[in-house]
Amino acid sequence: MTLQTNGATGGKWHARYPELGTGPVPIEPYISLEYFEKEREHIFRKVWLNVGRVEQIPEPGDYFVKDLAVCRTSVIIVRGHDGQVHAFHNMCSHRGNPVVWNAKGTCKMFTCRYHSWTYGLDGTLRHIPDEKNFYGIKKDAHGLTPVAVDTWEGFIFINVDPRPKETLREYLGAAGESFEGYPFAEMATGCSTWEVDVNANWKVCKDAFQEVYHIFSLHNKSTGAAFASTSNPYLNVHELALFGPHARISVPANLDWKPTPVEALARRYGMLALQKQGSSSQGMPSGVNPTASPDWSFSGLIYFPNMCLFVADGGIIMHTMWPLSENRTHWEARTYFPKAKTLAHRFSQEYSRATFVDGVLVEDGGTFEKTQSMLASGAKKQVILGDEELLIRHHHKVTEQFFNA
């Protein structure tokens, strides 16, 4: 293999995607309010965004509300009497009050707390108290305003664009297709989420999950050695692949790593969400361990703009970053897991969650605000990206394409 200049030994991902270049990336997108407003208008108010899973609303009348500050709205997601998932702007037709105030629930009708205007699960306006007080109002013209909604593999996506340019499936494209058939429903019987508002740009958060170069260093006390090995000390990945706005990453495991005593116990009674060894991708779709590597740990769908979905043999880990401003983000870190069969299995899953919190929420999350404060210092104007950090470069390129569309 020919070496790059400057003694660089890599360059293999760049060789595959030369159009992304190799230059530094400006810091401006991480600190600029003006840039954030462009992201809001050109991206978040235009594309399909994942807001949850179908298991959250199994029965007709089950609903949850998603506040989407970045889209300047709040959305009700409800299972209708027709069994389908519907979404509406959470706004009463009367004078604009949010119709639903609680985060989730079950109901037969939505009744606005303010003046008790009532809507069906299909969004139609059903009842106006003292209706004769209004001037020839046509109820069928004043239902809740619908939001485009669709599901993919049990994940619920909404799009606040009144006329989405693409269907969800078109937008997911080949990247999504390559994960179809993973046992999402079985693996997502339960879901725990950790949520926190961090003082950092949403891309500072996302970038942490678009590369695994940091694992040998930042996670050196925890999971670093479980992934990086003597033959692959900086955890070069099995695959980085780009699909339109989205990307895929596939991460090796260190097969020589010896689990700690309690990790060994936990593994005896169940698979861990991010099992580092003994993972099998047999029978999994093509996006999961796409290189069919024996030393495989997990694979990820890096969904543009704001979701990183990691699947493994034992479970699912997902990050969603909801921008609140140019330097604030609501970060949701979720683990999905299969139904526990015994208390010992529950112990095993709890260990998996504990190491997820330590390794990801605490260690990765610990960098966000620190990084943001220095990005905002103005000391430097750009950051440097290596070949293994291709997906960060790709994100910026895709953003440019959305801005120019």
């Binding site: 005593p261 969650r353 330590d358």
Partner: protein
């Protein structure tokens, strides 16, 4: 307070009942506010008994766990919580984001 809290055969763990906590948040706070000496003592007392404990707990269907077994189960959840402190970090919590800032929600069914 002489009443038995843990199942027959596990009374030797009763000095560690302060770790038998029902919620994730309580366990997080306990971990974060305990010195390493206490965390390590709990770890060393429970780990050698874990095979026995898990075998014992496996006899109960998930929905029919007696109170004493439930307390024993909560000890194992605390062990899951503090194991990384002992096995990886050598301090109660790793350097980074304060876990008490996190809001932990079980979005749908789930664990107890």
């Amino acid at each position: 307070m002489s009443k038995r809290q843990l199942p027959e055969g596990f009374q030797d763990l009763e000095p560690y009942l302060e770790w038998s906590l029902a919620t994730d948040r309580e366990r997080s706070i306990k971990r974060q506010t305990s010195p390493m000496t206490k965390i390590t003592a709990f770890y060393q007392a429970v780990v050698p008994r874990m095979d026995e404990i898990l075998a014992y707990l496996e006899q109960y269907p998930l929905e029919q766990v007696p109170a004493d077994a439930q307390r024993l189960f909560y000890l194992t959840l605390s062990l899951a919580k503090i194991a990384p402190a002992v096995e990886m970090y050598g301090e109660p919590v790793p350097e980074g984001l304060d876990t008490l800032r996190l809001e932990n929600i079980d979005i749908y069914p789930t664990r107890s």
